[in-house]
Symmetry: C2
Subunit: 652 residues, 2 copies
C-alpha cells in the first residue's frame, strides 16, 4: 500500500502545477506595475542565488565530514533533503513574485478576484512543501529501507531552513527598518514610495522571510517528524510489523490529501467574505484528516487507541494558535490594554508588551504539556510522534493561509508604487489584514508543531543513542540542560544585534543615495534598488554565520566531550527555553504590532498622537522580536535535535 504515498505527492505537485498555470495566465497589469514587480522578482532571486551559493559552500564542507564519519546513504539523503527544501523555496518564491502584481491587477475587480490569485500563490508554497516531502521521504525509504538513514534528509532540510529562516529574517527586518527609518522619519515620504531606494528590498523581504522562510521551516518540521516517527516505529515492529515504520508517512499523506481538497474548496468559493471562506477550507481539511486518522488507526494499524494520539496533535496546535491569537489580536483585551498603556508613554508600552509576551507562554506550554501527556498515554513516544505527524500533515493548508498574506502585502506595495486608485489598495489591505489575523493563529501552530517535532526527535535520539534513561540527577545531564538552556538566549541576542547592524548598513546606503543621486527626492531620477537588495543580502548572510556555526557545533562538542547524557540534557534545555523564548518574542512583537494598528485605526488619539508615537517605538522593537529572533528559535532547537540524532550512532 506504500506506493500510494509517492502518488499522493505527485498528485499534489500536479495540483501545484495547475495553480501555477492559472496565476501565470492572469493579467499582469500595466507597464509600470510590471516594472515594479520585475524589480521585486529580480531582488528576490538575487537573494535566493546568494543564499543558495552559501548553502552550497556549507554542503561542500559538510559532505566529506558526513561521508567519513557516517555513511554514503546518509550523505545521499542529506543532499536530497537540502535540495528538495531549496526547490520548494524556489517554487514558492517564484509563484509569490508572479502573483503579487497579478493580485494587484485583479484587485481592480474586487476582493474575490484578488483572492483567486493571492490564495493559489500561497497554496503553491504550502502544497509544494508537503508534496515534495512526501515524494522525497517515500522514494528514499523505498531506496534504502532503513529509517535511520533518513536522518540525513532531516539534517539537510534543517540546514536550508536555517539559512532561509534566520538569514531571511535578518534580511527582511534590515530592509524594513532601513526603508522606514530613512523614508518615513527622515525624508517624510510615505511607506512603499518608489523614491525610497530600500522599498524594493523591503518588498523582497516579505517574500524571502514570510513565504520562503516559513515554507522551509515547515518543510523541516515535516521531514523531521516523519523521520522521528519512522525511527520510533522501527522499535515497535514486533507489534505493528513494518506498518509502524511506513504508517507515519501514510498518515501524513492522508493529511496532505485533505489539505489539497481544503485548498480547492477555498479557491472555488464565490463568497465575498474572505475570512469565512478560509475558515471553511480549514474545517473541511480538519474533518477529512480526522476521518482519515480514524480509518488509519482502526483499519491500517488495527489499534484504535492510537486515534487518541492522532487527534491530540492538531487540536493542541489549534488551541495554541488560538491562545497566541488572544494575546496578539487587536480585538482582545491584552492588545487593547497595551494600546491604552501607550498613552502613558514609551516605557510603559515596552514594559507591558514584554509582560504580555511573557504571560503568553503559559497557556501554549500548558496545552503542549497536556498534549504530551495524552498522546504518550495513548501510545508512548510513538503516539507522541504520530500526534505531531497528524498535526503537520495539514500544514499544506496552514502554510497556504499564512503565505498568501505576504503576496497580498506585496500587491498592496505595488498598488501604491504604481499609483493605482485608493479602492484597489483597500482591497489588498483587506486581504492583508485577514492574512495577518490568520498568521497569528498559524504562528502559534508552527511553534507547537516545532515543539512536538523536537520532542519526537528527542525520543528518537534517546533510542538511537541507546539511552535507557536520562537522569536529571546526573551532573552531566544537569550541565547539558544548562548549556541547552542558554542557547536560545544567546541565539536571540545574536539575531537582535544582527538586525541592528544590518539595518545600520541599509540606513547608510539609503542616506547615501538620497544625497548623491540628483533628482531622486523630486521623483525625477530612479534610485538604485538593486544595491539595497544586495547590501541587505550580503550583511544578512554574513551575520548569520557565527551563531549558526555555534548552533551546529554545540551539540557535536557536547556529545563528544561530555557524552550522550549531557547531549540529551542539551536537547531538553534548548527545547524548553527555545519554545518559551519563541512564544515570548513572537507574541510581544505581535502585540506591539497590533496595538500600533489599533491606535492607527483612530483609537486613543489615532495617528500622530503621543500614544501612536510610543506604539510605533514598541512596534519597531517588536519587529526583530517577532520576525527574526522568534522564528529562528524554532529552527535552532530543531537543528540541535537533528544534529544530535545524526551523531547518535557515533557517541553511543
Amino acid at each position: 500500500m506504500f506506493w500510494v504515498v509517492p502518488l499522493v505527492g505527485i498528485v499534489t505537485l500536479l495540483v501545484v502545477w495547475s495553480y501555477y498555470r492559472q496565476i501565470k495566465k492572469a493579467d499582469p497589469g500595466n507597464e509600470k506595475m510590471q516594472e515594479i514587480s520585475h524589480a521585486i522578482r529580480t531582488g528576490a532571486f538575487a537573494f535566493i542565488r546568494r543564499e543558495y551559493t552559501s548553502v552550497a559552500w556549507v554542503l561542500l564542507i559538510a559532505l566529506p565530514i558526513i561521508y567519513f564519519t557516517l555513511d554514503l546513504p546518509t550523505l545521499v539523503t542529506f543532499l536530497i533533503g537540502a535540495f528538495l527544501s531549496l526547490l520548494a523555496g524556489f517554487i514558492g518564491m517564484n509563484a509569490a513574485t508572479l502573483a503579487n502584481v497579478r493580485t494587484a491587477q485583479a484587485a481592480k475587480n474586487g476582493t474575490v478576484a484578488a483572492l483567486q490569485i493571492a490564495f493559489p500563490a500561497g497554496a503553491i508554497m504550502g502544497l509544494t512543501v508537503v508534496g515534495l516531502n512526501l515524494v522525497g521521504i517515500s522514494v528514499l525509504y523505498l531506496l534504502f529501507g532503513e529509517p535511520e538513514l533518513l536522518t540525513g534528509y532531516g539534517l539537510g532540510s534543517s540546514l536550508v531552513a536555517l539559512f532561509a529562516r534566520f538569514g531571511g529574517g535578518i534580511y527582511t527586518k534590515a530592509a524594513d527598518v532601513g526603508a522606514d527609518l530613512v523614508g518615513k522619519l527622515e525624508e517624510g515620504i510615505p511607506e512603499d514610495d518608489p523614491r525610497n531606494p530600500a522599498v524594493i528590498a523591503d518588498n523582497v523581504g516579505d517574500n524571502v522571510g514570510d513565504v520562503c522562510g516559513m515554507g522551509s521551516d515547515l518543510f523541516e518540521s515535516e521531514a523531521e517528524v516523519m523521520v522521528a516517527a519512522m525511527s520510533l516505529g522501527a522499535t515497535l515492529t514486533a507489534r505493528y510489523g513494518a506498518k509502524a515504520i511506513v504508517g507515519p508517512v501514510l498518515l501524513f499523506a492522508i493529511g496532505v490529501l485533505a489539505s489539497v481538497l481544503g485548498v480547492y474548496f477555498i479557491r472555488m468559493r464565490k463568497n465575498s467574505n474572505v475570512y469565512s471562506a478560509i475558515n471553511n477550507g480549514n474545517y473541511v481539511t480538519c474533518a477529512l484528516a480526522v476521518l482519515g486518522g480514524f480509518f488509519f488507526t482502526k483499519f491500517y494499524l488495527n489499534d484504535l487507541s492510537l486515534f487518541g494520539a492522532v487527534m491530540v496533535g492538531p487540536i493542541a496546535g489549534l488551541l495554541v494558535g488560538l491562545a497566541s491569537e488572544y494575546y496578539t489580536s487587536d480585538e482582545k483585551q491584552p492588545v487593547r490594554a497595551l494600546a491604552a498603556a501607550a498613552q502613558t508613554g514609551t516605557a510603559t508600552t515596552i514594559i507591558d508588551g514584554v509582560a504580555i509576551g511573557m504571560k503568553s507562554t503559559v497557556l501554549p506550554i500548558l496545552i503542549t504539556a497536556g498534549a504530551v501527556l495524552i498522546a504518550h498515554r495513548f501510545g508512548g513516544f510513538f503516539g507522541l510522534a504520530l500526534s505531531a505527524v497528524s498535526m503537520l500533515s495539514i500544514s499544506g493548508i496552514t502554510i497556504a493561509v499564512d503565505a498568501y498574506g505576504p503576496v497580498a502585502d506585496n500587491a498592496g506595495g505595488i498598488t501604491e508604487m504604481a499609483g493605482l486608485p485608493e479602492e484597489v489598495r483597500e482591497v489588498t489591505d483587506t486581504l492583508d489584514s485577514v492574512g495577518n489575523s490568520m498568521a497569528a493563529v498559524t504562528k502559534g501552530f508552527d511553534i507547537s508543531a516545532a515543539a512536538l517535532t523536537a520532542l519526537s526527535l528527542f525520543a528518537a535520539y534517546a533510542s538511537a543513542a541507546q539511552l535507557e534513561a536520562i537522569d536529571l540527577l546526573s551532573p552531566s545531564v544537569i550541565i547539558g540542560l544548562f548549556i541547552g538552556g542558554i542557547m536560545p538566549f544567546f541565539f536571540s541576542a545574536q539575531a537582535l544585534e544582527a538586525v541592528g547592524r544590518a539595518a545600520g548598513f541599509m540606513i547608510e546606503e539609503v542616506r547615501r543615495q538620497m544625497r548623491e543621486i540628483p533628482g531622486l527626492r523630486e521623483g525625477k531620477a530612479k534610485p538604485d534598488y538593486a544595491r539595497c537588495v544586495d547590501i541587505s543580502t550580503r550583511v544578512a548572510l554574513k551575520e548569520m554565520t557565527l551563531p549558526s556555526v555555534i548552533a551546529l557545533l554545540a551539540p557535536v562538542v557536547v556529545g563528544f566531550a561530555l557524552g550522550k547524557e549531557a547531549l540529551a540534557g542539551v536537547l531538553g534545555g534548548s527545547l524548553l527555553t527555545g519554545m518559551l523564548m519563541a512564544l515570548f518574542l513572537a507574541n510581544s512583537g505581535g502585540a506591539w504590532d497590533n496595538a500600533k494598528k489599533y491606535i492607527e485605526a483612530g483609537n486613543f488619539g489615532g495617528k500622530k498622537s503621543p500614544a501612536h508615537e510610543a506604539a510605533v517605538i514598541g512596534d519597531t522593537v517588536g519587529d526583530p522580536f517577532k520576525d527574526t529572533a522568534g522564528p529562528s528559535l524554532n529552527i535552532l532547537f530543531k537543528l540541535v535535535e537533528i544534529v544530535a540524532l545524526t551523531i547518535a550512532p557515533l557517541i553511543r
Copy 2:
C-alpha cells in the same frame, strides 16, 4: 565541637551590637536633617508593620496545615525561621534608617568619615543575617537532632523573603516611578526635592528593597543551603559519621568568622580610597575562608578531596559576579556600545539592552555548570552543597558591601532635601557610586548562590522523596519541566505589571496632592508624605498576593496530582528558566541604568540630548526588570524547591 557554632553566632551578634552603638552615638545633624530622617524612618517602619501583619496572616493560615499534614517540630522550626528572618530585617532596617542621616552629617568631614558610618550600617544587615542563622540552625539542630525537621526553618525564611523581596520590590519601584514621573517630568522639580510628596516613599524604598529585601533573600539562601547540606550529609554518616551532618554548619561558621574579621578590616582603614578599602576587606575574608576550608576538610572531615568542592563555590560566585559586572559596568564595552546606540533612538536602545541581557546569561551559566561538574566530581551532591555553603558563608561581607550603598543613597537624598552644600552631596555620591559597582558584582554572586542553593535543595528533595532517578524520558518529568519552565515567565510578567499598576496609584496621589494642597509647589506647605508611603505599601502587598499563592501552590498541586517525578521536573524547569531570566532581567536593567549614567557624565551629548532621552526610557524600562522581577525570581525558584522538600515525605 558543635557548641562553637552558636558561640560564633553570638559573637557575631555582639559585633553587630557594638556597630549599632557606634552609629547611634554619631551626630545626627541639624533639625531639618533629623526631621527628614524621621519621616523616612517612620515610613520604613510603616511598611515593615504592614508587611509583618501580612506575614502573620499567612502564618496563621499555614500553621494548622503544617501541623496536621506534617509534625510539631516542623511547625516550630517554620515559626522560628520566619521569626528570625523578620528580626534580621528589622535590625538591618533600623540600623540603615539611623545611619542615613548620620552618614550625611559625617560626609561634611569627607569620604572616610562617611564610610565609617555607612559601612557599619551595611555590616549590621550582613552580620545579623549570618549570626541569627548560625544561632537559629545550631540551636534547633541541638534541640531536635534531625536535619529533616529543619526544612520548616527554610520554608519559614522563604515565606518572609517572598514578602520582603517581591513586595519590597514592587513597593520601591512604584514609589520611584511615581516620584520621578510626576516630579521630574510633569512638575520639573529635581530628584529628592522635598516638595515632591513621593520623595520620602522613594527613600523608604531603598531601605525596604535594597537593604531588607536583599538581606532576607540571602537569609533564605543561607538557611536553605545549610538545611540541604545537612540532609544530604545525613545520607553519608557511614563515611563521615555525624560530622557529615553538622559539618556544613561548622563550615558556615568559619566563613562567618572570616567575614567578621574582613568587615572589621574595612572599618578600620584610614585610607581615602573607598574602593580599595572594600576590596581589601573582601580579600581578607576570602583568604581566611579558604584557609578555614582547608583545615575543615583536612582535619575535621579527614577528606581533603572535598576541599576542591569547598573552593569551587566562592570562586564560581566571584566569576559570575565579574561576568555580570562586565555586562553592566559603564567602563566596559557593552554598556558603552549601548550608550552609543542610544544616539540612534529609543527602539535601538531597547533592542540592544535586551540583547545585552540575553547574552549576559551565557558566561554565568557556563561558570555555574562548570562549578557543578567540579564540585560533584569532588564529592557528589554533598560536595555541591558544601560548595554552596562555603560560597554563602562569606555572604556576611557581601551583604555588608551591598547594603551600605542604599544607606549612602539615602544620605544623598537627605543632603539634597536638607539643602546641604554641594561638596557634601559629592561625598555621598562617591560612596553611592562605589556601592553601585560593588552591587553589580554581588548581584551576580547572589544569583549563582541562589542557583547552587536550589540545586542542593533539588538533590535533597530527590533523596527525601526517595527518587532513585529522575528520567527525562518519562512524560511526567517532561510535563513538570514545562510547568516549572513557565513559572518564571509568568511570575516576571506579574511583577512587571504589578509595578505598572502600583505606580499608577502613586502618580494619581502625587498629582492629587500637587493640585489640592495650596502652596505646595512654592515650598510653603508640606506634602502628605505618609499617605504616599501608605498607598505604595498597600498596593505592593496586594499585588504580590496572587502570584505568590500560585508559586506556593503550584508545587503542591503538581506533587499531589502528577506525582513526585513531575514535581522533580518542576524543580528543574523553574531553576533553569528562573536563573536565566533572573540574569537577563538584572543585567539588561543594569546595562540601561549605567548607559544612562554614562551619557549623563557628558558622553554622546550628555544630559538633555536625544541620546539621554532614549537612555532615560531604557532606564525606566530596566527599573522593574532589575529591581522587582529579576530579584523576585531568586526567591521564586528557591521557594518552589523548599516547598517541594517540605512535602516530599507526603508524596513519596
